[in-house]
């Protein structure tokens, strides 16, 4: 089968690249083994939280931090992508998900400061509207409301610990934790957030919870709930619950799987299908056919069936170490589909430092594929190995998404740009 653009990988990066290519009228295919880590993590889009990474105070302006970063670290993915593509990519992202009923708010000029389930404070630049009311710089006190029988969310844990969390120059409102007087129908084995999220799509449940909140909440208080406000219907459950409770509500993510991440993923998936992009999930990609500096086709396999997919341009968005876009064994690192050279520490003894929470981070987290300014893989050299292959997302070398708090931003910006460039061919 022949396509204009073939995107390998259906995570956040791959889907952004596909939407971006399709926007230019290209016949686009996305083929992937799975859906990436978006359904595991909190569904916030971190642009830049800390720079340099050892800083204990978060950046107040991601844009300002990125400008400094690009000047000081020309190999960072943000330097390859550029602030303009980041801006355009974020606007494109917000528009795409809004069309599927999920509103993301934020901008490049400030970081939200939101509380986490363990009572720490996290900077992030874009988040779902259902999390917006959580910024600790707002004055109103917070009621943390949990549910009897819901696993992995502990209101008193969160409330106690947030009182010791500080960000320089910011005073934290008062948090109190309560279990709501609501029967969610959990049995002795405990209910997961995902299950409760599905139940919350039911109107009778929204009514029950809304009434219980209305009774519990004090004047002027806002409410922190675990992330359980539906999966399929975008912001719907959130809005209706706020109405019933009579106050502002915000979701707090906890252990995976992530309800907010799932909701975002579903929205992107719907948009991809609506844009006429073909989406094949559950396929392995192997045996690329290349000629000189051009990739001509890849083979995709599900079980014993193999098909050959030809394309004018290809986007590689197969993820970092978790997605297996970069693989390791005891002796070496490798990129499994094209055999592209991996940049970063090759000796296992250099991968990790002695402390898990090392403020400087672990060298292995920066491992990945080096690219030029057009996101084409260059290996250790400066010339692209393939001229029609574009790399995006966690696979890029030279950044530590977790310590910088830059994962979502790099992925969306590079995905958007990769799709744009692929579409221009």
């Amino acid at each position: 089968m022949k396509y204009d653009t073939v995107v390998i990988g259906a995570g956040l990066g791959g889907l952004m690249a596909a939407l971006s290519a399709a926007e230019q009228g290209k016949k686009t295919l996305v083929v992937s083994r799975g859906m990436g880590i978006i359904t595991i993590f909190s569904g916030t889009i971190d642009i830049l939280g800390y720079y340099p990474v050892q800083e204990t105070a978060p950046l107040s302006s991601p844009r300002e931090g990125i400008e400094r970063l690009i000047a000081e670290d020309p190999n960072h993915p943000y330097a390859r992508v550029g602030v303009e593509a980041l801006e355009e990519g974020m606007a494109f992202f917000q528009d795409a998900v809004a069309r599927e009923g999920v509103t993301y708010v934020g901008d490049l000029d400030r970081n939200f400061l939101v509380p986490t389930a363990v009572g720490t404070i996290k900077p992030t630049a874009y988040l779902s509207k259902s999390m917006e009311a959580g910024d600790i710089r707002e004055d109103s006190d917070v009621l943390i409301a949990g549910f009897q029988g819901l696993k992995d969310f502990y209101p008193t844990y969160m409330a106690h610990n947030i009182s010791t969390s500080t960000v320089p120059g910011v005073s934290t409102p008062h948090f109190r934790g309560r279990i709501l007087d609501v029967d969610i129908g959990s049995d002795h084995s405990g209910m997961s957030a995902l299950t409760l999220a599905r139940k919350m799509e039911d109107d009778s449940m929204i009514q029950k919870v809304g009434r219980a909140l209305f009774r519990q909440v004090r004047d002027g208080e806002r409410v922190a709930l675990p992330a359980v406000l539906g999966i399929r219907s975008g912001d719907d459950v959130f809005r209706r619950l706020e109405d019933m409770a009579g106050t502002r509500i915000f979701e707090t993510p906890t252990l995976p799987p992530s309800v907010t991440g799932y909701r975002l993923y579903r929205a992107l998936e719907r948009r991809v299908r609506a844009a006429g992009i073909r989406l094949l999930i559950g396929y392995d990609v192997h045996d690329p056919e290349t000629k000189g500096k051009k990739v001509k086709a890849v083979s995709i396999a599900m079980g014993k069936k193999t098909k050959r997919m030809e394309g004018d341009s290809f986007v590689l968005a197969t993820g970092g170490l978790v997605g297996r876009g970069v693989m390791t064994d005891r002796k070496e690192t490798m990129e499994p589909i094209f055999g592209l050279p991996v940049s970063g520490p090759s000796l296992r003894s250099e991968w990790f430092t002695e402390k898990f929470f090392d403020p400087a981070g672990h060298p292995i987290n920066k491992i990945g594929l080096a690219v030029d300014d057009r996101l084409r893989p260059t290996g250790d050299g400066t010339k692209p190995i393939y001229e029609n292959l574009f790399v995006c997302g966690a696979q890029l070398a030279g950044y530590d998404a977790l310590r910088e708090k830059s994962g979502g931003g790099v992925t969306i910006a590079s995905g958007f740009k990769a799709g744009r460039l692929a579409g221009e061919l």
């Binding site: 880590i37 595991i40 993590f41 909190s42 800390y50 204990t56 978060p58 986490t116 389930a117 363990v118 009572g119 720490t120 404070i121 996290k122 696993k151 992995d152 969310f153 502990y154 008193t156 844990y157 106690h160 610990n161 009182s163 010791t164 969390s165 500080t166 049995d187 002795h188 084995s189 405990g190 993510p253 906890t254 252990l255 995976p256 992530s258 970092g320 170490l321 978790v322 297996r324 693989m327 390791t328 064994d329 005891r330 296992r348 003894s349 991968w351 990790f352 002695e354 402390k355 898990f356 929470f357 403020p359 292995i364 987290n365 977790l402 310590r403 994962g407």
Partner: protein, 529 residues
């Protein structure tokens, strides 16, 4: 507070606990102190192997005989801590062939049942065994849970009147006119000091024996030998697999709970608290395991750990492997002029009971006590029915709770090891503890494939709901737990284990943002350290 007793035993490893049990069974008033939790030293960091003695038969007949005798005794009295797996000695092409005959003869001479198997017979027992195996000999090795063994000895002793003081550190030993009069200890949990009056002190502190002896003005010359081990994420073998060759590194793979453990190495170190598993050791053990059990080359390693063998020093021994594994009882009255002070050092897990018997024989003689040892005849508390541990029992126990609660399923706290919330609550209530390691050792929470990556937060959440965590300290406990865990994980991160760790990092740094918390400011007056 002032406490009075006849014998003070220092050290809560299997040796100390075994000595305490023997003492009280002979009617001697005893206090056992341990600075951390039970089995915190070499006992908790060994291979968990119940030797048949085959490994020592050729070079050390006496040691081998001791092993097989104790093997039979422990299978009877400590049955619940032992999985009767049996063992195989396996030779591969390239191994010294002459060793085989010497081995068989030596087992015979030491009274160890050794049966030669054909390859097809062996494969039926061990489907993952290398098809290159040349000679395969079956022996009565077993797998033992060193924590359970130590805890059962301590519990048994406590039920007979021994006072067991955990988290209680020895600060000083009192000697007057060349005789022991007592010791000063510090209860770290309650932050209280106690003076213990006793005429006899038994130093069973393993790698710390030299340091403790020094507090009494006595000397224990030790060589510290580090032995590293790797834990695979699943069982690759059903029996204990030994290499049939002169003993070397990476020779033994022991099945333990739902994992297999490969070991070990033997490297002299100087500091009993500061040691690491090196990349070289990891690669060596992976290589050796892969030769005898080929599927292990692809299996995930979830943790690397090391224990320190305290060996009584013999001049000119370099690696520590040739020092006899037998034990020593040091009478410091005769050696150093400190009457009433004894040290018991060396030995191995399999012969702990015998070591304890010999030690208590000596001290009984001194005290004029004429009751002889009966620790080998009376079952430990918990092993009265003589039933050995079986891995399947875990599933049966979960099922039976389900029956009690009419179809309701238990809430699972640790998914890797199937530990239920009820099990955890039971330990918390019984021991009145909020210490994560206490809970871990008694339930296996956090010992599975993710090594506590997911369940630690749940555990702290549960403790918080029960108001058992000092306010505001939960995140500090969580982060220091993660740092301690890192020591065991870091040497074995590659492939799928590395991927899993990235997920864990994503949770703790991404979702929970625990990387930027600042240490709590404490008031200077009441220091916790």
């Amino acid at each position: 507070m002032e406490l009075k007793t006849e014998v003070l035993v220092i050290g809560g490893g299997v040796t100390g606990a075994g000595v305490a049990r023997d003492l009280v069974m002979r009617g001697i008033d005893t206090i056992l102190v341990e600075k951390g939790d039970l089995a915190a030293g070499a006992t908790g960091r060994c291979h968990g192997l119940l030797h048949s003695g085959g490994r020592y038969a050729v070079k050390d007949k006496e040691s081998a005989e001791e092993c097989i005798e104790e093997n039979v005794i422990l299978k009877k009295i400590a049955s619940r801590t032992i999985e009767d797996t049996g063992g195989l000695f396996v030779s591969l092409p390239g191994d010294d062939e002459s060793y085989v005959d010497r081995f068989l003869a030596a087992c015979d001479a030491a009274g160890i049942e050794a049966q030669v198997l054909s390859l097809s017979q062996a494969l039926r027992l061990e489907p993952n065994l290398s098809r290159e195996a040349k000679t395969i000999v079956r022996v009565p090795d077993g797998a033992v849970d060193p924590f359970a063994l130590t805890i059962d000895n301590a519990r048994d002793a406590a039920r007979r009147g021994c006072r067991v003081l955990r988290h209680t550190k020895l600060l000083g030993i009192d000697v007057a006119k060349g005789k022991i009069t007592g010791a000063e200890v510090h209860d770290r949990v309650k932050d209280e000091h106690h003076r213990i009056k006793a005429k006899y002190i038994i130093n069973a502190t393993g790698a710390w024996a030299g340091h403790v002896a020094g507090l009494a003005g006595a000397n224990v010359p030790l060589t510290l030998s580090k032995g590293s081990l790797l834990i695979f994420n699943r069982r690759i073998n059903n029996t204990v697999i030994n290499r049939l060759r002169p003993p070397g590194d990476g020779d033994i793979i022991v099945p333990n709970e739902p994992t297999s453990i490969i070991g070990t190495t033997s490297i002299t170190v100087s500091d009993p608290e500061n040691f690491q598993v090196t990349k070289k050791e990891v690669d060596l053990m992976m290589k050796e395991a892969g030769l005898v059990l080929p599927p292990s080359a692809e299996a995930r390693v979830i943790r690397a750990y090391a224990g320190i063998r305290p060996l009584v020093a013999v001049p000119d021994a370099d690696s520590g492997r040739d020092i006899s594994r037998s034990f020593s009882i040091l009478d410091h009255g005769k050696l150093d002029g400190v009457k009433g002070f004894y040290s018991i050092v060396g030995g191995k897990l399999t012969t702990y009971r015998l070591m304890a018997e010999k030690m208590v024989d000596v001290i009984s003689g001194e005290m004029g006590v004429h009751i002889s040892c009966s620790t080998g005849e009376v079952a430990l508390f918990g092993s009265e029915d003589g039933e050995h541990y079986r891995l399947e029992d875990k599933f049966i126990s979960i099922e039976s709770v389900e029956d009690e609660k009419e179809g309701e399923v238990e809430e699972i706290v640790c998914e890797c090891e199937l530990v239920t919330k009820d099990e955890v609550l039971k330990v918390i209530n019984e021991m009145k503890t909020s210490n994560l390691n206490d809970i871990r050792q008694r339930t296996r929470v956090g010992m599975g494939s993710c090594q506590g990556g997911f369940c630690t937060y749940r555990l702290l959440g549960i403790l918080h709901e029960l108001d058992m965590v000092p306010q505001y300290e939960a995140n500090e406990i969580l982060t220091s737990f993660m740092e301690e865990r890192w020591r065991g994980i870091r040497p074995v991160l590659w492939g799928d284990q590395l991927r899993e760790e990235q997920l864990v990092e994503g949770i703790y740094l991404g979702i929970f943002a625990l990387d930027k918390i600042q240490p709590l400011k404490r008031t200077a007056s009441k220091s916790k350290k």
